[in-house]
Amino acid sequence: MSRNGLLQRLARTAVLFLIAVSPAARAVLTIEIVGTGTTQFPIAIVPFRAEAGLPQPITPVVAADLARSGLFRMVDAGGINPPPHEPQEVNYATWRARGAEALVIGAISPLSDGRYEVRFRLMDVAKQAQLAGFAYTASAAQLRLTAHKIADVIYEKLTGDPGVFSTRITYVVKRGGRYELQVADADGHGAQTVLASEEPIISPAWSPDGRQLAYVSFEHRKPVVYVQSLVTGERRAVANFPGSNSAPAWSPDGRRLAVVLTKDGGSQIYLLDLEGGGVTRLTYSSAIDTEPNFSPDGRHVLFTSDRGGSPQIYRVPVTGGQPERITFEGSYNVTPRHSPDGRSFAFIQRNGARFNVAVQDLATRQVQVLTDGAVDESPSFAPNGRMILYATEAGRRGILSAVSSDGRVKQRLTAEAGDVREPAWGPLMK
């Protein structure tokens, strides 16, 4: 990617951050890493020149991002005097001796308009060559996001997958009788309340461009589907038919929502045209059909149905037709969510009295159970497919956790107070 392209991306995201959300009600989610990958890439990160004076130092955020992924091992970067900040200052033998395979160096320069230039380089220790290098111009408020962007570049260069550290998550916090729909950075920082209500809020879903959320609010004493802009805060009821309206899922092109309506009797899946407002019925059963989820290519919808006697996962072409049953193990399989590559899906499987996150390969039908909590719910893939965010319980409180899609890395995100539930991981910001 060109430097300009990246800067534009950064600038646009930053604008979104500033306008999108009110500064009210901040809650910090802290993340605890429970497990790690089997092979970890050794990387050394040297504190950037002039970083100590910043309102938000860069390298600690980069290091925390990479460590949290479970795929990196931080190599001690201390005790070198003077520390290297430019390529010609690097003594590769030192870093080889410390076992680092990659090295991150950089520098901060204050600009006359009060902003900062943040330069960083990712060096290959063995080849003694630069793998990546970017410069960013950021205000004080954008420094944390800049650090996440740097971590994204490093992650992508070294793993081949896009980094997701600069993405955002949404979830619902319940405190007493108050419900708050919040949006936070993927590391839990900078949580902002985008909707507060005395009535329940469930099923938030990100639009593919990350600028809108669809969700179900009970503010009118019944479930109604809303779409809210994170840029302007404007919201509108998009499905408010007689009966219940719920389970919104975006089509990959962002033009349609799959929703569950009961207006014709029973919970059935409909496609809602967001521009024209028309609805087309997608499923026809006398059973429960719910929790629709589009395949990334937009051609299929996975959903939960108990048409066979117990809740199982089915797949139907988006053009309609006969649904095909997809899950066969166990008596309770719900909440299907396609992986970003469309090859597998995460879902919730009941095992005895437990409800756990599992992944099933769509081609081989092989199932892997990834979690072991008592009540795990609402799985949501990171946009690079490497982690799955989900809701679980600890000490009778709802908390968020994440597990790598191979089950090896586990993280726990805890809020200061309240029940946290209904997480959804936002898309990569283009």
């Binding site: 099923s203 479930p223 219940s244 569950v260 009961t262 919970s267 929790e291 939960t304 719910e377």
Partner: protein
């Protein structure tokens, strides 16, 4: 639009015959958490203070008690409970459903909402659908007993409005229910 008109007409009708607030049956108090819908006790005990008033001329308005709110009337019972993963209306709740169906039949302008609920186990959206199915089952029975489909809207709160919040069956059965709420209440 038509529904809105009907509902405001009903609101006026119900307001006309609404008695002083009395303590509601347990079943009707469910979702009312906001201060403005908290049920107040009457400031004085009517039974004692009413006696000297016998000599007074009768008020214009009849002192009829709203049958929907009268604790002695079966219509004040508003909750139908269900077994796990079931939407079958059990025999013990059929008299309640029958009484409300009859009320709807006798009061064609009356509108009600049946709110379905589920216990906390399983996915929120699937539980929302289970609650809906329970509400629909009650509606279907009322229709068979002569109520008009247009008088009843069924919605679901899923597991979001538990009446009891312990994580065990002694609690869960109270959350698998359908609640009857008349429009204007």
């Amino acid at each position: 639009m038509r529904r809105l008109l009907i509902s405001s007409a009903l609101l006026v009708a119900l307001a006309g015959c609404a008695a002083a607030p009395t303590k509601e049956q347990e079943g009707a108090a469910v979702e009312d958490r906001k201060p403005d819908v908290t049920v107040d006790r009457p400031p004085v005990k009517p039974a004692e203070k009413e006696k000297p008033a016998v000599a007074k001329p009768l008020a214009d308005k009849p002192l009829a008690v709203n049958p929907l709110k009268d604790p002695a009337n079966i219509l004040s019972k508003r909750s139908i409970y269900f077994d796990f993963d079931s939407n079958l209306v059990k025999d013990e709740y059929k008299p309640i459903v029958t009484a409300h169906a009859q009320y709807l039949r006798q009061n064609p302008a009356a509108r009600m909402r049946i709110e379905g609920h589920a216990d906390e186990r399983g996915s929120r959206e699937y539980n929302l659908a289970l609650g809906q199915r329970r509400a629909d089952a009650v509606k279907q029975m009322m229709q068979l007993l002569g109520a008009q489909a247009s008088q009843i809207e069924t919605v679901s709160f899923g597991e979001e409005k538990p009446r009891c919040t312990q994580h065990e069956e002694s609690c869960w059965w109270q959350n698998r229910r359908g609640d009857i709420v008349y429009q204007g209440e």
